[in-house]
Amino acid sequence: MSMISKILFGPIRTGMEANRPVLYRIAYAWCHDAALADDLVQEALAKAWARRAQLRDEASLKAWMVSIMNHCWLDHLRGRREFDDVDALQDEIESGADTPEVCCNREQVIACVRAAVARLPLGQRQVLTLVDLEEFGYAEVAGILDIPVGTVMSRLSRARASLKITLDNAAKQHAAQPALRRVK
């Protein structure tokens, strides 16, 4: 199968398809909405395929596709909110997610961290997820989001600081009000 699609579409198509799970994870971490993340990935893949001639270096395929998806996501935000100053939005918008509450077991930790990440301002959320989830270098992230490296570093720093505070508070809350223990 992959052999044939390689011959028909060239190796780049296979490379793009292989990046689908990566894109989906990032998209989900950005918007915390599975259906929307799916749409974003689909759109980014279609756009990447249409613009494949613009890719200069195949080694940077992943970063290039993520940067296309970033544009799709910003377009989506512009369309949804009725103003277009996305730059201002980057530092302000927090999603309406609830504050993370009790974290104790694995599922709860996951839910808790996701809620905390969702509460980060958009710009910080993007930088944090790109660095932590996909281990992009700072320079790569700067290229993908089209911002200076200094901004990447400061956003990352702020994002991690507030993430830590949120999670610490959640843990403290949990310690302060012991939930009902189930007695077998």
Binding site: M1, M3, I4, I7, L8, Y24, R25, Y28, A29, A34, A35, A37, D38, R106, V109, I110, V113, R114, V117, L128, T129, V131, D132, L133, E135, G137, Y138, M153, S154, L156, S157, R160, A161, L163, K164, L167
Partner: protein, 243 residues
């Protein structure tokens, strides 16, 4: 040296963005500075929590699943047709292409060991052997392998460069008074000018930290880190073999 390290620097350290010298300096400081070590630890655990949180993002359940079976059948039909067409019309083209691809993927092997090289064809004249264990048979194998490669190159009249890189417990091979092969190694070095022995400074620092005195054989040179040395050499087109 005791200046407070900023959060940004610490983040860069955790993300591997510092250069080798800076990150080594910081690593050294971490051993003595407990609060700093705690900060790094907290950062790392935060990072792994974020990774855990998105390791398995939920799959979207749109209306797509309803259409899928039929689409799959169509896809299979189309695929079948394509295979047929490809088989009928492009047999020769396909054959030559396929053998090309297979040739590109085949991993090079040097003297029975799996070799790694960034270029398509492993360079037989620039090889590094990586030793990370103190097991006698592994040490023996590394030396035998090195001698075999060098002799072979000599017979064929090639100028070969060979580096033996040791880290972790493999470093015992290069410690004066510990190495069981010191005499043989000295002989080898005398015979082959292009043979180098490289030890990992980080490992030495660790051993020293544990209270062991590490003295290297005079023929050995120390590199900042074994991994750094390996990566640099790979980028320069060397072939890597793990013994």
């Amino acid at each position: 040296m005791n200046a407070v390290i900023s959060n940004e620097t610490l983040h860069a350290f955790v993300d591997g963005e510092l250069d080798v010298a800076e990150s080594e300096a910081l690593t050294a400081r971490l051993r003595s500075d407990e609060t700093l070590a705690q900060r790094v630890c907290a950062l790392r655990s935060l990072q792994s929590m974020v990774r855990l949180a998105y390791a398995e993002p939920p799959v979207s359940t749109g209306g797509k699943s309803l259409v899928a079976p039929r689409r799959q059948i169509m896809q299979r039909c189309a695929m079948g047709c394509l295979i047929l067409i490809a088989g009928l019309s492009g047999g020769w083209v396909l054959r030559s292409l396929e053998s090309d691809v297979v040739a590109g993927v085949s991993a090079p092997a040097i003297g029975g060991f799996q070799a790694v090289s960034l270029s398509r064809v492993a360079d037989p004249d620039r090889v590094m052997l990586h030793l990370d264990s103190a097991a006698p048979e592994r040490m023996q194998a590394a030396l035998d392998q090195a001698e075999r490669l060098l002799d072979e190159a000599e017979r064929e009249g090639r100028a070969m460069q060979l580096e033996i890189i040791a880290n972790s417990h493999g470093i015992n091979l290069m410690r004066a008074g510990v190495s069981p092969h010191a005499a043989r190694m000295a002989r080898m070095s005398q015979r082959h000018a292009n043979l180098q022995w490289v030890a990992c400074s980080q490992t030495i620092a660790r051993f020293t930290g544990e209270g062991q005195k590490v003295e290297l054989l005079p023929i050995t040179r120390a590199a900042p880190t074994a991994i750094g040395e390996i990566v640099t050499r790979l980028q320069q087109g060397w072939t890597y073999v793990r013994v």
